[in-house]
């Protein structure tokens, strides 16, 4: 892959020129909450924040949107009203999360709504500062080699810039004067140093080796019931997890007409109604069954299918769940057969 070098002070000028492609969005922090917002430039962004509350999946797959307008005659697809966006400041785990979403939404039956937004969004990654909730070291997602258009690694004075796509390369060419191909010995040393530094930052206690077997063995473990006693079925974990893709569909009819919209919105397998079928039968009536489905999907089933977990270690479940149920506590509880306090 092409790796270029850019002086740090040139970033604002680069972003300014990139804005010709589309709206610029980046992480901003207000009252200690970080979220992606539309920005004018670098000065409004908070590149030190470890994670946004909602992952960038919301740009590719909005919490609620209209799929079709309908009347008696039939259904008319609603696409085309998506703005072109540049997302700046995505962390490696965010990009790994999007790669998993790509797998789900773009392979076998491509989802045109996701595809359109993916097509109209440029992903510009940025290196991150891990905190004590980050677990990407355990899911092998602490660095990223694909999925982005550009990736900026902050080496104090310089950025090393990975060029991941032809479109990323086009952005570079708009300000070719800001980039250099001349990497020297010091750049390699600085980069090695950076990787060492990053790896030393991880404080979370989590080890996911052997998880598929442990899930298999622990299928009937009382640990699931103990966790279920705490869980509120609030579904927050699904909203914040970058790899949760489930959704529901509803027809909204305009009062007094036969016209309306078919809308799609985020759902969670933690909700009681998730597996209810006609006649009221619920395949997962018990909270323990729903909790087990969520974690089995992330840490066992997906590994069986794709050779890697459907968890990218972003730590959002850690910072979000009100009762401390998350990838770290669940995997630990299953291994030690005891729910920690």
């Amino acid at each position: 892959m092409m790796i270029l070098k850019m002086k740090k002070e040139d970033l604002p000028a680069f972003l300014e020129s990139a804005k010709q492609w589309g709206e610029l969005w980046g992480p901003t922090t207000k009252e200690e909450q970080t979220a992606y917002s539309k920005v004018d430039g670098l000065s409004q962004m908070d590149l030190k924040a470890t994670r946004t509350m909602i992952p960038p999946k919301k740009f590719l797959y909005p919490p609620r949107f209209t799929m079709f307008d309908f009347d008696e005659e039939g259904f008319v697809e609603r696409t085309g009203d998506v703005p072109k966006r540049i997302l700046f400041g995505l962390h490696p785990c965010d990009i790994h999360g999007i790669l998993i979403m790509d797998k789900l939404f773009l392979e076998t039956y491509k989802d045109p709504y996701y595809a359109e937004r993916r097509e109209k969004t440029l992903l510009l990654g940025h290196s991150c500062i891990p905190d004590d909730k980050c677990m990407c070291f355990a899911t092998n997602t602490d660095f990223v080699a694909e999925g982005f258009d550009l990736f900026f690694t902050d080496l104090k004075m310089f950025y090393l810039v990975w060029v991941g796509s032809s479109r990323g390369h086009d952005l570079v060419r708009m300000r070719a004067d800001l980039f250099s191909r001349n990497l020297d010995k010091n750049d390699i040393l600085n980069y090695t140093e950076y990787r060492k530094w990053k790896t030393a930052q991880f404080k979370a206690k989590i080890d996911l080796t052997g998880m598929p077997d442990i899930f298999e063995l622990g299928y009937n473990s009382p640990v699931w019931d103990e966790l279920a006693e705490k869980c509120l079925s609030c579904g927050q974990c699904s909203m914040v997890c970058p790899t949760c893709n489930c959704y529901n569909v509803v027809d909204e009819v305009e009062l007094g007409t036969v016209e309306g919209t078919r809308d799609r919105f985020w759902d969670s397998c933690m909700f009681r109604e998730y597996s209810v079928v006609a006649g009221g039968h619920n395949f997962r009536d018990k909270r323990a069954d729903r909790l087990r489905l969520w974690y089995t999907h992330k840490l066992q089933a997906f590994i069986g299918e794709f050779g890697k977990p459907a968890c990218v270690g972003c730590g959002r479940c850690v910072s979000t769940c009100p009762v401390d149920i998350n990838v770290a506590t669940v995997s630990k509880a299953l291994k030690e057969q005891e729910v920690g306090k």
């Binding site: 259904f75 998993i100 036969v258 078919r262 998730y274």
Partner: protein, 300 residues
């Protein structure tokens, strides 16, 4: 393992798999007190022959404003140009379907799902065991086999219903009894009419009449209410039919039919794209189906 990667520039937005096409209901009549039969043709006649499907597949059917739900196709692709369904009144959408009149339109997209493994079943003896609404997908299979009769070995059709009034496609199956290339056995749990000429008793009693079976050379396809499975599976295994040659269909909540919405997941499988037809051997591995408290509800 497949690579988790997309090449952005090669990607383009294709057909929308969620787009329902409009079909016209051309026939509609009751099969039982709460099950209706529907026959549909595409509004756009050019589409009529484009619906390529196989027995065991399903479609997503919509009424604008009332929602969308999965239904098995009960017709056979060997008689193209139309689709047939049998639909039980259960809730919002199905009730609206019952209010629908002939010549009105519905949205249909599909076909979806894996279908019965027709190529593997060709040349083999076939045993079909249908109970209650399980007839919906199995009628498609049976008609397909009869239309391609010389490509299959011995064919046995076992059908059970609660009582004569509840038997779906009663007249059609009585006619099939006249054929000499098919062993068609019908039973009702209880005859409340006094006029029933066929067997009475649970569907499992029909097994006693089967005579010798070339079990290793047989594919069985089973569909019915949950309790039926338990006993039928036992009987089929006793007959010596290999578990991977016993086929069944599973029913789960579905919102998309194309492996995106997540609702029909069973462990790492999606009922909509990996199923709805599974072998008994697959199902034996689904811990969730045999697991604690989770009942084994298969298509009813």
């Amino acid at each position: 393992m497949k690579k988790l990667c997309v090449v952005l520039d090669e990607r383009e937005v294709q057909d929308n798999p969620f787009q329902p096409d409009m079909w016209r209901i051309v026939r509609r009549y009751p099969l039982t007190s709460d099950v209706n039969f529907y026959q549909a043709r595409p509004v756009d006649v050019d589409e009529a022959l484009k619906m390529n499907y196989l027995p065991g597949q399903f479609i997503m059917l919509s009424i604008p404003g009332e929602g969308e739900a999965p239904f098995c196709i009960s017709s056979t692709p060997s008689r193209p140009g139309l689709l047939e369904f049998c639909i039980r009144k259960m809730g919002t959408l199905t009730s609206s379907l019952f209010d629908l009149k002939e010549n009105q339109t519905v949205g249909i997209r599909g076909p979806y799902g894996n279908s019965f493994p027709i190529d593997k079943m060709e040349g083999k003896d076939i045993m079909i065991v249908a109970g209650g609404m399980g007839v919906a997908p199995l009628r498609s299979l049976l008609l397909y086999i009869l239309d391609n009769r010389d490509r299959f070995g011995k064919v046995t059709y076992l059908h059970g219903a609660k009582n004569p009034g509840e038997m779906l496609f009663r007249e059609e199956f009585f006619q099939l009894k006249e054929r000499d290339d098919l062993n068609c056995l019908l039973t009702v749990d209880k005859d409340d009419t006094g006029k029933w000429t066929e067997r009475t008793g649970l569907i499992t009693t029909l097994f006693k009449e089967l005579g010798p079976i070339d079990s290793k050379n047989t594919y069985a396809a089973v569909c019915g209410p949950p309790i039926m499975y338990k006993f039928v599976m036992e009987n089929l295994v006793k007959l010596g039919i290999p578990k991977h040659q016993i086929l069944m269909t599973l029913e789960r909540r579905m919102k998309c039919g194309v492996g995106k919405c997540g609702h029909c997941a069973i462990e790492y499988l999606y009922t909509c794209i990996d199923g709805p037809v599974f072998t008994y051997w697959d199902v034996l591995h689904m811990k969730e189906l045999i697991g604690r408290g989770v009942s084994d509800k298969v298509i009813a």
